[in-house]
Structures are given as C-alpha cells and as structure tokens.
Symmetry: C2
C-alpha cells in the first residue's frame, strides 16, 4: 500500500542544471529523489509540474511522489527536508492526493515571476536573483505592451527553437508589469507555457521599456510567427516559478 503525496518546493536554481534529472550535473528532481530514497530505501520518482531550466528559481514548484503507507504527508515533508539541509531546496508543504492526481497533468495553471533590476550599478545583494538590466525602462510603455500578450495567441515568435510542444498556441491569463521597490516585476499566469516563453516575453518587454520598440510592435512580432521577430531571451536567473494551481478537489486531503 502506498500514498501519493503532493509537495510544494522552494529552490535556488543557481547550483542546478534545472528541474529535470540529467547526466551533466545535479538537478533539483534528482536531488529530491535521492532525499526520498534515503528514507524510503528504494528508488522513487518525483514528478514535477514543470521543467524549470538551469538557473531558474522556484518559490512554488509542485511535484508528486509515491511513498509507503506508513509515511503520512507531514512525515514525508519532514524526512525530505532532513535530507535536504545541505542544498538550497526546501519542501514547503505536503498533502496527500488521490491516485489519479498527477503534478504535471492535473495542473490547471502555472504562475511565474520575472524580476528585473533596471539600474546601471550591479546588484550587491540580489546577484543571481534578478536580471541586472543596465538601462532605464519605461514602466508605462511596458504595461501597455504587456496587454498585447493577453489571451490566446500563436506564440511561435516567443518560444525556444528547441521547444518540443506540439502546438505553439497558448492562452496568457495574466501578464502584469509592476514596479516593486527598485525592481520591475512581471507576473505571468497560464495553464501552461512554451519553452522560454516568459523569458522571451521579458526580453521583448525590455525593448519596449527602452523605447526601441513601440508597444504595438508586440502584435507584429506575434503575427510574424518566427522566433527572430521577437526580442532576446532574458536570463534564467531572473525567473521564478511561484505557483502551480490544481482543481479544488485535490486540495488538503490531510
């Protein structure tokens, strides 16, 4: 007998090759799987809601794993954290979910934050946590441009050339640009995203903020349906997976 456990995870993406287990270095997934194996005493798959790239951070990644019945959700969280003390990964909470739950396929929404520090001087405190953008950015223009991305579009121009999704069509439910202290924060929400989609949107919004692009140019870039029509890919270390949403039927079973 087993239990299926949904965990919420915070991590510093800096030291990892990304979420997904890979042969070229430590991944967040493999690190948590190793922590699980240390107390379950057999190999365990930790299935994530989304594959964050190398360097991308998370304050609300979600994943599920199968554990022997004797471990309840809270004990799974405590045991995982006990084996993760030496790495920048923390299990924030754990909930038992039904066997038909899947962290990736049951998700109804993903929320990301992209942080930009628009100033000439390098960050002393948030190095590796924000995109240090050396030029002034016009917040108002970026807000106007962001609205063009809302709703359903063919995001071919804004996905990585290596993106493996079958369809380039996605629906952006939210794309807010806010000034938070001396940083510009871009909040994005969709059922799912294409590879590099938010980083390409963020890179393009900075072109608008620098007045190299008119806000309406976003429409032209979308219509072009070619990666070269959009702006540069913003660096990974400014991106945070902040939340994954599930139908309420899966919430808080213990």
């Amino acid at each position: 007998m087993t239990r299926r456990i949904l965990i919420r995870i915070e991590y510093d993406g800096g030291p990892f090759v990304g979420w997904q287990r890979q042969i070229n270095g430590p991944s967040v997934q493999a690190t948590i799987e190793d922590a699980a194996q240390a107390f379950i005493h057999k190999p365990t798959i930790v299935a994530g809601a989304g594959r964050t790239d190398a360097g991308v951070h998370a304050t609300g990644q979600a994943a599920h794993l199968e554990v022997p019945k004797k471990f309840n959700a809270n004990r799974v969280m405590e045991a995982l954290n006990a084996h993760l003390t030496s790495v920048p990964i923390t299990i924030l909470n754990a909930t038992e979910v039904p066997y038909d739950f899947h962290a990736r396929f049951s998700a109804t929404g993903r929320r990301y934050l992209y942080r930009i520090l628009p100033r000439r001087q390098a960050p002393a405190l948030n190095f590796g946590r924000v995109w240090h953008h050396k030029h002034h950015l016009d917040l108002k223009l970026m807000k106007i441009a962001a609205k063009h991305f809302l709703g359903q579009h063919d995001f071919t121009s804004f996905r990585a050339s290596k993106c493996q999704a079958e369809s380039p069509v996605r629906t952006l439910n939210q794309l807010n640009v806010e000034l938070i202290g001396d940083e510009i924060h871009i909040y994005a929400e969709a059922r799912s995203f294409l590879h590099h989609q938010i980083r390409n949107i963020a890179g393009t919004l900075t072109l608008v903020g620098r007045k190299k692009w008119h806000p309406d140019d976003v429409n032209l870039a979308l219509k072009a349906a070619h990666r070269s029509a959009a702006g540069p890919t913003a660096p990974a270390h400014g991106l945070y997976l902040i939340g994954v949403d599930y139908p309420s039927v899966y919430k808080s079973r213990d």
Copy 2:
C-alpha cells in the same frame, strides 16, 4: 584642491567583519578604501554614517571621502565600482557635498529594516538574508507592542552591554511591523541608534509574537533599564541599513 563626495552604498554583509576597518578580516570600509586608493593613488579614508556589525546588510549606507579635484562625483562612483566588481559592494550614487559635510555627524536620520521569515522550513532562496524564525508570530500583537517603543526612551535594556554611547536615551520616530509576502518586516527610523538596539527590539518583538510576552511587557522591559529585562538579540543577517538622511542643504550639488 579636493572635492568631498557623498556616496550611497549597497552591500551583502555576509562576507565582511562589518563596516569598520578591523584587523580580524575584510571590512566594507577597508574594501572601499582600497578601491579608492587604486585610482586616487594614495591612502583615503571613507567615513561611514554608521558602523554596521558583521553580517548586517545595507541597501542605503552613506559615507564620504575626499578626492582630487579632477574626479567629479560620477567619475568617483564609476571608478569605485570598477574596483569593486569582485565583491558584493556597489556604489549606488555619488554627490559632491560641501567641506563641512560629514557622513556621520551631518546625518539627521537612519532607517533600518529587519526581515523575519516565520516558518518551520528553512529558506532555500533567502538564506543569510532573513532571520529564519521557526515559530508562528502573531503580527497584530507585534504591531501593538511596537508602539510602546515609539518616542523618547531610556533604551538601556535594549542596547548591547558593550555599547559605547554616552547616553542610553534615544528617540524612535518610526517602528512599523508589516507582513510582506511570507516575511515580517520591521522598519525603524531614528536620528541614531544604540549598539544592537534594533536587533534587541526585533528579538523582543518575536517574544510578543509567540505570546510569551504581553505587548505591555515592553514597557516593563524599558523601565527595568537592564539588558537582562529584554528579549534576545536577533541575528545580524536579518538587518539592513536602508537609508541615511541629511539636511536638504546637502542634496544633489551635481
């Protein structure tokens, strides 16, 4: 001929023994003085507005230095930053000030932020940047208790036993306790502070937040005028010097 330059400084206090030059390790002051010497080509004193302890961060430390006339304020900032690229210290801006200006003695106010992360799980992303406090804290009670500190008091109970200030009397103009995301932020403003004053106030406020103290117990602690009457000293790495204020006559001369 020389110019006197006021600089504003951001730093990660983690790798330093504190602001002040010391023989036991790298200080922020000595690091900036070395950077200044590298382009002025003679030893230069960088006089800070406040001596932050080892581990204390800054987003708005202030200091002044004297440079040869040929260096204007902007060139001083650029030259210092060019010599500080390998350390987590950044000069945010520089302004020429009159010769009667002194970063410490001309200051009319200092502003600090203390960050607490009140949750059981360790911080993966803000390790070393917040006080990880493993217990729930009642924000409302902390807000009530904070009001007792406002105004002029004998802060003997809240200063380090090694504090060298002549008088233990200080006037707190602001002490706000706010929930920011999943952190509790304590904002403090005064003309000047005693050694460990904010960290001792923060430590005491957590006793109130945990309901070990009644908010009114703050008054008893103040009246006791003895360090043992107050709560513990909160760790250095949760504290940020966020700003130093000067009379408007000194503002923006270039």
